[in-house]
């Protein structure tokens, strides 16, 4: 299905957000946080979230900031 991943069009075979993260190489230890369609999605909820076509996924990590 087609989704938007960090602002870019992407195609994925993942069924859940956790699967998507796994397929991108982010295991449970990875220092990332997620949001779906503008709403925060906690780490514990990623497994339950069924991806839908057109979902806008954000995957963020720690970065320098002012």
């Amino acid at each position: 299905m087609n989704i938007k991943l960090n602002g870019a069009e992407a195609e994925t075979g993942a069924k859940t957000l956790k699967q998507l993260c796994d397929m991108l190489g982010y295991d449970l230890e990875a220092k990332i946080a997620t949001a779906v369609n503008g709403e925060f999605m906690a780490k514990a909820e990623r497994d339950n979230y069924q991806l839908a076509s057109g979902d806008e996924i954000e995957i963020v990590a720690p970065r320098q900031g002012g």
């Binding site: 190489g25 990332i32 503008g38 954000e58 720690p62 320098q64």
Partner: protein, 266 residues
């Protein structure tokens, strides 16, 4: 009495941003030279290809670098232009950095990066209600400041000048009013500082701390400048505690007049 933010004792009155440094090594050395005990960080999209390595350019690598410094992190919501973006970013930051602290920025305008005070108050209320400990990046507007305190903020962070502008304290009169109006609220000057003298002036006014980034990161020698800011902030604080004399219009000799040689009454 030691400075406290949300019940946490704060060892240094200099809060330092971690962006724009020439290299991760210089960032680490500058943080150490500044003796800052709190540094600001952000959350940003990460390319899937960047996360596998431990490069300091990747999020994982950057996090490792910060961990080595043994400082407390204050995540920000930099770049957010709506309440929803800021709230979601804050929640992602809370999970990522495992802290309830959030430097709340809701930006109104790209040119000035000034806070959207209406959005700021709204977002602060939502986040305080959800258990966040909010450090709002605001202006010197007293009405907005009162709304932020009513929303549950226990700290205010008025700007000195627009972010990254190095103009110092644009409106010292209003900043002095703010200090006088909120004598018991921790007040941090956030943004716009360019030179150590700007930071010293803020501290002489009685501000509790200064948060800065670009002035150190973009200095010719960031490590040396970090040390300079640490000294200026300490000096400004000491001066405030000591009590700076009032200026006067006319000269007043410091050397005793009595006994001046060749003195004659006119």
């Amino acid at each position: 009495m030691m400075l406290e933010f949300y019940g946490q004792q704060v060892a240094s009155r200099l809060l330092m941003g971690t962006a724009l440094f020439p290299s991760p090594d210089i960032l680490q050395k500058a943080v150490r030279a500044s003796h800052a005990s709190i540094v600001t960080v952000s959350v940003r999209r990460e390319a899937a290809s960047a996360q596998s390595g431990q490069s300091s350019q990747s999020g994982q690598g950057f996090w490792e670098l910060i961990r080595q410094l043994d400082v407390r992190v204050l995540p920000n919501t930099a770049g957010c232009k709506s309440v929803k973006e800021a709230v979601t970013t804050a929640k992602m930051a809370r999970e990522l950095f495992e802290t309830n602290w959030i430097k709340l920025e809701v930006i109104a305008n790209d040119d000035t990066l000034q806070p959207d005070l209406f959005g700021l108050v709204e977002a602060a209320k939502i986040l305080c209600d959800e258990g966040f400990e909010v450090f709002p990046y605001t202006t010197e507007d007293l009405g907005a400041a009162e709304r932020l305190l009513e929303a549950g903020c226990e700290i205010l962070m008025p700007w000195g000048a627009p972010i990254g502008s190095a103009r110092g304290l644009n409106n010292p009169f209003a900043l002095e009013s703010m200090r006088a109006y909120f004598p018991d609220t921790p007040l941090i000057i956030d943004a716009g500082i360019g030179a150590p003298s700007h930071a010293a002036r803020a501290m002489e006014m009685g501000y509790d701390a200064v948060l800065l980034n670009t002035a150190i990161a973009k200095a010719g020698d960031p490590v040396h400048m970090a040390k300079a800011f640490a000294g200026a902030i300490e000096a400004g604080r000491s001066a405030f505690l000591a009590g700076v004399m009032e200026p006067r219009d006319m000269a007043s000799p410091s050397t005793p007049v009595a006994g001046t040689p060749f003195f004659k009454l006119d």
